[in-house]
């Protein structure tokens, strides 16, 4: 059920120079949202900026009627959102797109992400216990970042019951290396049923390759420049190969995605980078 809702900012918090968290009162969206879905929101009144911004849901709580967004300030729209004052109303469409598809039988899941890829994974970590058969699946959250300051949401993942590992490129915190390197190590010693990833494209491409090599099902959440968010404009397409081997076809991130089977969107052989 997609709605167009006036949502009201009720709190804001700066997490680092780049990242911040917003909580909105948004009862209709909060009630319908599933992990992996996104909202398509205006950043201000009027027509500037002209288009909406797709933002992944970091959390949605039907009981309090609130949604939480974790946003990276990377451009004009996300800098305007950072300046919103508490009490401001903005217009949001949602929830949009499809959800992560954890298998009820999965016993161990890895959630691997970095940067603005963290929110949909956090929402998944929160709901996974109710989406897998009892006892709840073991969840390992792998958080990648360039530097320690950008290692996001460790405590929040732990609060969801996840085991948390961090990797930094410069070794300033946790594992010294990329999250993909850390994943390779983990898969050598752990039996893992499913991997979920969202983050920069090279990270997800690496995750797709490593999981394919271990024959572990992997889902990736993608983004692409988007206009309508409703499937009409056909802007936000990505190349998809059915079963990883079929002919390339364009599918919409907003409608067929944003969650795709990783091996269908990242060729695991060849040099398509």
């Amino acid at each position: 059920l997609k709605t167009c809702e006036r949502i009201t900012l009720i709190s804001q918090e700066s997490l680092s120079r780049r990242y911040y968290r917003l909580v909105f009162e948004a009862p209709a969206i909060a009630n319908a949202a599933m992990p992996g879905q996104f909202i398509h929101m205006r950043c201000a009144g009027g027509w500037d900026p002209f288009l909406r911004r797709p933002i992944s849901l970091h959390d949605a709580d039907p009981d309090s009627g609130t949604i939480t967004l974790l946003i990276g300030e990377f451009g004009y729209g996300t800098s305007l959102l950072r300046q919103l004052s508490v009490g401001t109303q903005v217009d949001a469409l949602g929830p949009l797109g499809g959800a992560w598809q954890p298998s009820p039988e999965s016993r161990t899941c890895i959630l691997l992400g970095g940067g603005v890829g963290i929110p949909p994974l956090h929402f998944l970590a929160k709901r996974l216990p109710t989406m897998t058969s009892t006892p709840a699946a073991r969840v390992i959250a792998v958080i990648g970042a360039r530097i320690q300051e950008d290692v996001l949401c460790e405590a929040e993942f732990a609060a969801c019951g996840a085991e948390v590992c961090a990797a930094t490129d410069d070794g300033s915190y946790g594992f010294h290396g990329t999250a993909v390197d850390l994943l390779s190590e983990l898969l050598e010693k752990e039996s893992v049923d499913q991997v979920f990833t969202c983050g920069p494209t090279p990270m997800m491409r690496g995750v797709a390759a490593v999981t394919a090599a271990h024959d572990i099902p992997c889902q990736a959440s993608l983004e692409e420049r988007m206009a309508c968010g409703l499937g009409a404009c056909i802007s936000c397409v990505v190349e998809v190969r059915a079963d990883g081997t079929g002919p390339v076809e364009y599918q919409r991130v907003c409608t067929e995605g944003p969650v795709f089977a990783a091996h269908e969107v990242f060729a695991t052989t060849g040099d398509d980078a």
């Binding site: 059920l1 997609k2 709605t3 167009c4 205006r42 027509w47 500037d48 900026p49 002209f50 288009l51 909406r52 217009d91 469409l93 692409e224 420049r225 988007m226 206009a227 309508c228 409703l230 499937g231 009409a232 404009c233 056909i234 802007s235 936000c236 397409v237 990505v238 190349e239 390339v248 076809e249 364009y250």
Partner: protein, 306 residues
């Protein structure tokens, strides 16, 4: 009782507001936000004879008061459209206008034959102006004789109302307009998008994979209004005015400039209920100004001809 209905090229519309091709999908995409029965007409996303994969991404980029798009006519092809999309559209009491595109006269003939007589298709919008495909759009849009030939071919294969969508990327739009009317067009859609480019200064290359794209949104509105005005001044033809209509006020500009109907396009991306807001806003304007027939606004901004 105020009359809001118009007759466009033989198509009875409840009100003069339709959706612009390529901005409203095939209808169901907006059904959560728009009561399709309230629309004057639906113009569906452009259809070609065979399926088209479309252009590689990125396909759109935001611009000041607008956006560029280079979708490249991704569509399932005529047969799949009729089989998969038309049954949904037939449920509604709203005229369906199919936007058709082709690379050659033979393709125009064939796709017209396919749509002629399809239940629920009320008219064809002949797109000779898509700026984002190498073959077809650019050729037919810029050469008056090629445009004439395309429209004449379509006319020979159907009695359906024909609305021809013209490109603004020409020196003299009146010349194009005159030739397609002579070829049998019943009305004109003005305007398609303006070719533009945005360059990513960090990567030092155009943002769009297609390099160029079509500019739409409020940024183009004054150009579109002027072109509707020019064509309305130069000849007696029905016009569907479009280009950056966000509100009823914008739509009224197009009616006053000489449009019989208007199309809401890019606004659908920004504000899904935009078309309904435009319909309601025109009704409110008529009431406020005690105008009993929307048709009396058509070309009303032009000085009386002597």
């Amino acid at each position: 009782m105020t009359n809001q209905s118009v007759n466009l090229a033989g198509i009875e519309m409840k009100n003069p507001v339709m959706t612009a091709s390529g901005t409203f999908g095939y209808g169901p995409e907006y059904a959560d936000f728009v009561d399709l029965n309230r629309l004057g007409a639906i113009v569906v996303k452009g259809i070609t004879l065979e399926p088209r994969a479309g252009n590689p991404p990125p396909r759109t980029v935001e611009t000041p008061a607008g956006m560029l798009n280079a979708i490249g006519l991704q569509n399932p092809g005529a047969a799949a459209f009729i089989e998969q999309k038309m049954p949904y559209l037939r449920q509604f009491d709203v005229p369906v206008i199919v936007n058709i595109n082709a690379r050659s006269l033979d393709e125009f003939a064939e796709i017209t034959r396919i749509f002629d007589g399809v239940d629920g298709v009320h008219g064809l919008e002949v797109n000779i102006s898509c700026p984002n495909v190498k073959e077809g759009g650019i050729l037919f849009s810029s050469d008056p004789e090629a445009a004439h030939a395309a429209v004449q071919t379509v006319r020979r294969h159907t009695a359906l109302p024909l609305i021809v969508k013209l490109s603004p990327n020409v020196t003299d739009i009146c010349l194009l307009a005159r030739r397609v009317i002579e070829a049998g067009a019943d009305a004109l859609s003005l305007i398609n998008t303006l070719v533009g480019m945005v360059i990513d200064v960090d990567r030092r290359c155009p943002v769009l994979a297609n390099r160029t794209g079509g500019l739409s949104g409020p940024a183009v509105r004054p150009i579109a209004v002027r072109m509707v005005w020019d064509v309305a001044e130069a000849m007696d033809v029905q016009i569907v005015g479009m280009g950056g209509i966000m509100t009823a006020q914008d739509a009224l500009e197009f009616l006053l400039a000489g449009s019989t109907a208007v199309a809401v396009g890019t606004a659908n991306f920004v504000n899904p209920p935009a078309a309904i807001e435009v319909i309601d806003g025109i009704a409110a304007y008529l009431e406020e100004h005690e105008i009993d027939d929307v048709r009396s606004l058509i070309a009303a901004a032009h000085p009386p001809k002597t």
